[in-house]
Symmetry: none
Amino acid sequence: MYKILVVDDEENIREVIREYAEFEGHEVDEACDGMEAVEKAKDKDYDIIIMDIMMPRLDGYLACKEIRKFKQTPVLMLSARGEEYDKLFGFELGIDDYVVKPFSPKEVMARVNAIVKRNAASAPPAPASSDVEKFEGLEINFVSRDVFIDGEKANLTPKEYDLLFYLVRNKNIALTRNKLLEEVWGYDFFGDDRTIDTHIKMLRNNLGPYRKFIVTLRGLGYKFEA
Amino acid sequence: MYKILVVDDEENIREVIREYAEFEGHEVDEACDGMEAVEKAKDKDYDIIIMDIMMPRLDGYLACKEIRKFKQTPVLMLSARGEEYDKLFGFELGIDDYVVKPFSPKEVMARVNAIVKRNAASAPPAPASSDVEKFEGLEINFVSRDVFIDGEKANLTPKEYDLLFYLVRNKNIALTRNKLLEEVWGYDFFGDDRTIDTHIKMLRNNLGPYRKFIVTLRGLGYKFEA
DNA sequence: AAACACAATGAGGAAATTATGAACATTGCC
DNA sequence: GGCAATGTTCATAATTTCCTCATTGTGTTT
């Protein structure tokens, strides 16, 4: 049984998560915004905090930062897909994972379990995902949103960057086109599958010799293999 | 065989789905609206509920929400194109999937199969199916979709992967050709039996020394024996 | 050992999938 | 509004994979 704090301004979201979590035997507290979340986190030791980003008064980023000042409680972020996708990782917020809306409660709880278990295992919490990744001469800076090919700055369009970002974040994992569409384009994109191919093509062109990292999985999708 | 509840106010829709489902050997109950659906769902444990959104008395959203209060039965939603599309996603009611009308019964049943199977797999709390399996020098990674033969990466075609994955997931179980066709090729495949042999052949070739794990069961089918 | 039933194999055409280029649409900016 | 950059769709080419079928091989039964 975990003690969980759910923070979101929309009641139905809290409701859905609460139901699922309680169904699994956990104890759930709720908060409507960042302020309230900080208060509650101060009072009580939660095993995990599930928090929306966009909230009135104090948003998820800042609330997380605030909480970090006195506790290392793991945080799972809920985010509407969009601009700030990668900001989630860039900084020292110590976010453990994130789920893009619309999520299924099932998925959220699966991640909660994973995080809490992982966290319990390694006493010294060390989330802090790196700000840059390097694969041979391919360097990706998640903070500045830059990509360097053998030291030369590559000129990626936003979509190309998003796609690369997602592929790299999930390197060595087979990703279906659907998954990519859902995660990179968003659940509200009802366009053509081939769109991905086109962006993959352009991305590959831009990666020069390191196009080799993006492998086609026939009948499935793509994978960043490093 | 699944127990399926079909909920729609149009009789021909129910009819079409029923026919297809029964053809596949499933058991089908019907309901005309949300109210009735909730009743029936309360009385009986269905493997899945296929439900229209727009219905008199109680619509699909609310019916789903209602049912969720006492059961976790997976729900597949039928929606007319353009019909409050985003509501499906905006917040999560625990809908497992959706199909846009006009749909083909084939598609519906394909999804039904996917959902029920997925659901059955995750229902037992800890089947703990690992991400990789290793048999001597044969290593299979289900996440990256890689197969290694003594450290060398094997180059399997999609069907070969699928076949191997299914065999391994059901290792030490005798699998008839029919079962294999149904599970790996899909219920809508009406091709030749020998097709399997051919793919087994190629798979064996690709597995090198570990072809030994795939044993022929004369008069029956095949088995992955480890 | 012969006859039989079934499995293994090889090859070619069919089918499915991906890559690519170019047209078209959208967005953001001046 | 017009322009430039980006994103999307679409048609076509290129490639890979799949399936069928005929033939050969192997184990079983009588």
